[in-house]
């Protein structure tokens, strides 16, 4: 795979802060890969996502380099889609769903409103919103959290971007919906050959479908490598701790169970 972006010695310090949120990061993003950025709160994972997307707030101090293979950074909304954790704050509450999904396609693909609406309807079908023609006229508050996140994905993908960043895109959803959204993202990204940057605190969730994982802690990149490799033979203590902290249904319970 060719390199899409070379990140060199990247540091980000937010305004009014003395400690950098991201501290001297070296990282290559390969074109077409599914890269999971994993970390706990304060690890800098969302800062990295925002830095890559060019969405850092005003006044953030950025040092280091991001060298894009295309020669210029991707234009958010056209070359790069972004799905946030909370779709109820990333969607506009007073615009209907159709307009929000059509907007990007009209602006960036040069479609007429009519064509953009037709495209939006197709996008809603692709993210498997039930009764997409009805959903076009609905407002965000009329949909469930999972459906809203499907809409946000449809809007992010409407301009056929080459890169999709999902920042804790499933963390606010219940687990059954989370599983559906992850498999939807996986499928859409695979079909379109997009690069996916999947930001999560959940190492198990990432382990199911990422090509590579990058582990972040306190603004630093702790460890990066192919998913199977990092999970089966982690080099760093912190990575081992994260793996050991994972609980699923096979983990020994903390309580003594009655013999059954």
């Amino acid at each position: 795979m060719s390199t899409l972006c070379e990140i060199r010695n990247l540091s980000v310090t937010y305004r009014g802060q003395t400690m950098p949120a991201l501290n001297q990061i070296d990282l290559d993003i390969a074109a077409g890969e599914r890269l999971a950025i994993i970390g706990e709160s304060g690890s800098g994972k969302s800062t990295l996502a925002r830095a890559v997307a060019g969405l850092l707030p005003l006044g953030a101090k950025v040092a280091g380099e991001m060298r894009w293979s295309s020669g210029h950074p991707p234009l958010p909304g056209r070359d790069l889609g972004f799905v946030f954790q909370d779709p109820s704050s990333s969607l506009n509450p007073v615009l209907d769903i159709g307009e929000q999904v059509a907007e990007g396609a009209r602006r960036h693909l040069g479609l007429s409103w009519r064509e953009a609406y037709a495209h939006a309807l197709k996008m809603l079908e692709r993210v498997r919103i039930p009764e997409p023609d009805k959903a076009m006229k609905a407002f965000p508050h009329q949909l469930s959290g999972g459906q809203r996140q499907r809409v946000a994905i449809a809007a992010a993908l409407a301009t056929r971007p080459g890169i999709l960043i999902a920042d804790e895109a499933t963390s606010a959803l219940d687990m059954a919906v989370q599983a559906e959204i992850v498999s939807l993202l996986d499928e859409l990204v695979r079909e379109a050959g997009m690069t996916l940057i999947f930001i999560t605190h959940d190492i198990a969730l990432a382990s199911g479908f990422a090509d590579r994982v990058a582990i972040f802690k306190d603004g630093r990149l702790v460890e990066i490598g192919p998913t199977g490799h990092v999970l089966s033979s982690p080099r760093e203590t912190y990575t081992r701790m994260l793996i050991a902290s994972h609980r699923d249904l096979t983990t020994t319970p903390l309580i003594r169970e009655a013999a059954s």
Partner: protein, 265 residues
Amino acid sequence: MTLLTIENLSKRFSSGGREVAAVSDVSLTLEPGETLGLVGASGSGKTTLARILMRLLPADAGAIRFEGEDWLTLSGAELRHRRARMQMVFQDVLGAFNPRATVASVLDDPLRIHNIVPKAERPREIAALLDRVGLLASYAERSIRDVSGGQRQRIAIARAIATKPSLIVLDEAVSALDVSIRGKILELLVELQEERSISYLFVSHDLAVLRAVSHRIAVMETGRLTETGPTRQVIENPQSPAARALIGAVPRLVTEPTEGPSHDV
């Protein structure tokens, strides 16, 4: 003696002319020292059930017996007095506390309101509570905003045990925490239970968390209880589609490269 009996509890909400049965005909029991994990997807009614139990919402029908009392008919001073025995820990602890409060005042409130210890002894009791949940006594003077999420959840637990309750309702109490901290909070809850035989009603959408601490699991879907049983039995041999879906949705740690997501969707 059974600590808590919920019988045929129902609650409907009407929104925009539509009637929604948030809880329909739910019956449950809880024994002293037992943890019942209440699991369900969003909108399944689990939080509504917890709120009715906490007397934060009135029920439309059904009855609750708690420590031998007809819990839903208690009111006024009687209810306030009895509330000491049933406490709650929420997911968003910062939202549950006065943001200007200090840790000491957060812990002082229940001691004062329920008259647990005389005024002169309260600082010592606060220090003991902090110690019990693994925090230094010096935390007492800090603002509730100046402690980390995990520490704040420890303080919420300290507040819940301050009134010596027999039941604590945990509503997604560890869902917002980092995994490294989540495990320690769960261990603390289990320790406190063994030490004081507190019962927990643990409400969560995360079956892996409930698996760790629950003796029994109750599964809810669209307001109804679809199955109840010993934890291992429900997880190893689920009877309802709702339980199977929740089990399939728990992410598994995959340590070998795969061809797709590890979920059974």
